[in-house]
Symmetry: C2
Subunit: 302 residues, 2 copies
Amino acid sequence: MSILVVGSVALDSVETPYGKVDDAVGGSATYFSASASYFSPVNLVAVVGNDYPMHEIEFLKSRNVDFAGLQVEQGETFRWAGRYNYDLNQRDTIYTHLNVFQNFKPVIPDKYKDAQFVFLGNIAPELQLSVLEQVHKPKMVALDTMNFWIEGSQKALRKVLEKVDVFIINDAEARQLAHQTNLVKAAKSIFEMGPKIIVIKKGEYGAAIVTKDSHFVVPAYPLEEVFDPTGAGDTFAGGFVGYLAKTNELNEANLKRAVVYGSAMASFCVQDFSINALKQLTSEVIHERVLAFKSLSHFDEN
Amino acid sequence: MSILVVGSVALDSVETPYGKVDDAVGGSATYFSASASYFSPVNLVAVVGNDYPMHEIEFLKSRNVDFAGLQVEQGETFRWAGRYNYDLNQRDTIYTHLNVFQNFKPVIPDKYKDAQFVFLGNIAPELQLSVLEQVHKPKMVALDTMNFWIEGSQKALRKVLEKVDVFIINDAEARQLAHQTNLVKAAKSIFEMGPKIIVIKKGEYGAAIVTKDSHFVVPAYPLEEVFDPTGAGDTFAGGFVGYLAKTNELNEANLKRAVVYGSAMASFCVQDFSINALKQLTSEVIHERVLAFKSLSHFDEN
């Protein structure tokens, strides 16, 4: 099944202890698409300025990413610059220039409106809501957000949450939204807000998927070098939603595997700047990484 | 096989958001023994004052904990008081009164000297070293330590590390000792110090076991109420070493299972104050928890 993703397409300038890049392709919809496209066709809705280097994402077309929903506006593309400190767990934003993104109104092309799998990338909840008003009857809506919206637009965020099936969030944000430090309790209180499935990203500690009656945890893949963590969360979401769209069946076994595929894709992403590490993977390489996750976490009880 | 444990036996006064206890039995050797005794006989070497409420640990005798190595000195028992804040991840020490522990010189009774499994609880590295000088030829020596010794007695600590097989440490301490924020690199650099096996405790995120060619991660058991985290690390070590001593074979499958058993025991420990939750477990209840860890972390790759 194809996936509709609405999010940001940006140009990122990033500095890590390993190096730096300027105006590299980034943004939630970009990372998501690059990752999900290994599993399912992707229809992307976003906005860029007329300065955007379209050739940089041209290769995604060959992996069935459709750009008919990408609006190109007069002006500059959304730009973000950040710097990671030595342990890569903290990052400082140097600037955020919304540029053409400031007036972004997602317009879902007619041919995308029957999307069965929808991913609402981390943008204003009001925009996420407007996407849901345009699509028909999706089988699964997954949503990402961030502390900025939890703090500043919680009313709108709570309104979207009522309509989503899967909420993908990091542990600090889950605690913040639920006013609960215990993550099991936080998940319970988020269930009351609408989502039936919560995926909690824990950075270097991995990810968990929680439903009302199940809990499953995937550790992060142990890497000696994390080159650049930018986009890891959206890449995770791409693997997660991409795998589910491919199977087209939301059972428990598929949901577990989807978290593993998401974690595998994220483990590739962080090994290079921008989407570079997501350009030339193969299904064999991805499957090998999934097997590595198995030996990382399975044991024989006797 | 029986286990020799050398560590502290203390009286703890603890305050958590759930309640408080005064002068409750605690200490690394106490938690370790209460946990390990579900798997293997334990010989305990420690010191207490003549104020120690021996009846509180009497029940351990029926589980084959031998107290012939417990020195009872004139004076007061080692006392520690601490307070946990709301999220239980941070604790403030209110006081540490070493009392009789100040002059503790571990004396290993002759009948313990052939111990095949030795656990050196978190005490001064010089004392840990003196234990190793007294025992004959153990099959496995496991060691715990803390930031206090890494900072203040690193030379002695490095000397003990050369002689141990398994180093049990938390993630912050591993980073501190190795001067490395990346845990995979930190483990590599700790291997150079001696241990062949490193067990990294990550608190609410679980535990990992790392050897030169394997990496295995167990998530923490998702609990809605963590009543009191005191002793969780020593209880983990008790389950880990206890299980290995029971199998008496240090292969990869057993090491993995040992981390799961350690995690299971720790998940019980934190559900009550002191060693209360470790008093009346059964092998069925423990095995059920191990199965819960399986469903928490296993997936079918297809």
